[in-house]
């Protein structure tokens, strides 16, 4: 069976700075991998390479054997990627239900002509309601995003990503800015989604939660792949400790 995600020898440079240096990563279907590294390790840049927001100078990205490297972001999403962004970006003039329903209707929004011929939103709204219930937002489906706290909006990002029925869910620091109780609760949800069969790549600084829910971690430092494997073993490796804490 083909890996769900293959990142092959990706290099990204911004001017004279190499943000990602020959990074490679392979994920199998059903994996939940914590993607960690100190600040400036190039994690978000690599995530942006996977989603197509940043084009690599070298290397390629594959999803279930399909080369995504030359595809635009929206084409990668339709190929099976979904992204919950680090900085929450709800569509502020729409309710939570509409935010998720729009994503649920991705088959109707493939092009303007198809969208023009489609009117019924009831099926998508029903699915959106179910997804919002799944992430614990069933009581605020009709609320405006601007009136809700960050924890709710982080969950909205996850619900919207799930609405795309992805093969691989990319989560960019979903726990950032949440208190411990909210972070723990959202981490539990991520673990449950993985147990239901969804492949998830989780970029996160909250190592406590990453080690609690992720069986495997991929560590990157200064743009380079540093280690990959069992979470507890990897985090005890001297070079990983050195990357996080520096030399004594």
């Amino acid at each position: 069976m083909k890996p769900v995600l293959e990142v092959k020898n990706v290099t990204v440079r911004f001017g004279g700075v190499t943000a990602v240096d020959d990074a490679s990563l392979t994920m199998q279907g059903g994996d939940l991998i914590g993607f960690v590294g100190p600040n400036g390790a190039g994690k978000t840049t690599l995530m942006r390479v996977i989603t197509g927001i940043v084009r690599p100078h070298e290397g390629s990205v594959w999803l279930e054997g399909k080369d995504l490297t030359k595809l635009a972001t929206n084409q990668r999403i339709r190929a099976g990627l979904a992204l919950a962004q680090q900085i929450v970006q709800p569509l502020r003039k729409m309710s939570l239900l509409e935010n998720v329903a729009l994503a649920c209707g991705f088959s109707k929004t493939a092009n303007p002509f198809k969208a023009l011929k489609s009117f019924d939103k009831s099926a998508e709204k029903a699915t959106a309601r179910e997804l919002l219930r799944r992430v614990g937002l069933q009581d605020v489906v009709d609320a405006e995003p601007s009136k809700l706290p960050l924890g709710y909006l982080k969950r909205l990002e996850v619900a919207r990503a799930l609405a795309l029925k992805p093969k691989l869910l990319l989560l960019d620091e979903p726990l950032a800015g949440l208190n411990q109780s909210e972070a723990s609760s959202l981490a539990d949800l991520i673990k449950t989604l993985n147990q239901d069969g969804l492949s998830i790549l989780l970029i996160e600084h909250n190592l406590r939660e990453v080690l609690r829910i992720c069986p495997q971690v991929y560590v990157q430092d200064l743009g380079k792949s540093l280690a990959f494997g069992n979470s507890n073993e990897i985090m005890n490796q001297p070079e990983v400790i050195k990357a996080y804490l520096g030399e004594s």
Partner: protein, 281 residues
Amino acid sequence: MAYEITLLTTMAISVLFALSLNFITGFCGQISLGHAAFMGVGAYTAATMMKASISLLFVIPVAAVFAGVLGLLVGFASLRVRHDFLAITTMGVVFLFVGVVRQQEFLGGEIGISGIQQSVLGRTGFMLLCVVLAGVFAGFSLLVKRSWLGFVFDSIADNEDVSQVLGIDVAKYKLFAFVVGTATAGTAGALYAQHYRFVGPDSFGFVESISVLAMVVVGGIGSVWGVMFAAAVLSVLPLLIQFVDDYKILVYSALLFSMMRFSPDGLAGIVQRLLNRVRNR
């Protein structure tokens, strides 16, 4: 009766023109400060063809296609620049259009094209054609608002980057909005040429672009009914009140400023708030 026919024809052409900008700016969130250029392309295309005794009914679709093609080109610019930069780019289009037309002898240069013959429809028939075309596009706009296309436009107007992450091909949708909006402006231009039987470069400059933007903003950006009402009233106001005619740009600019300051969602927003207040009593 002839006066009423003139008023109604003027209203219908303005409504069609304002709705065409509303499609781009109100629905899809793409600001355009040069929309009169597309009306101008349609008007000059139609004037040139009608001078060659080609039927108005054939001229209208050709004018729409010419304006739509230019709209497609400007739409490509919207894929690279956004917000204020797009506003400046579209403003450049209208100055470019006027500048080019002024230098073309076959388009009448500074003097424009006059002596366009009346169509076989007659004044009443032509008025009905204008009303029907404005009505059809208003109906199409309302249909779009109800459809998934309107839903996607709302998301693009709100946040293009998020729309991309939801799998939406933002470029295709923006180009679609530009082509439909500018082709409709071209249609309005063809009707204008027949209505006034004269086209000149000053009729499609920056002032006209701001005037139509004022209609959209005063009516309520994105609101079909609001824009129709504002376009109908503002288009005939200069014909009814001499002061407005004398100080047209001043009056329109004051209205534009007042709306942006006190009710950014226009008359439609005011009506909606009043209705909500009545319902909540």
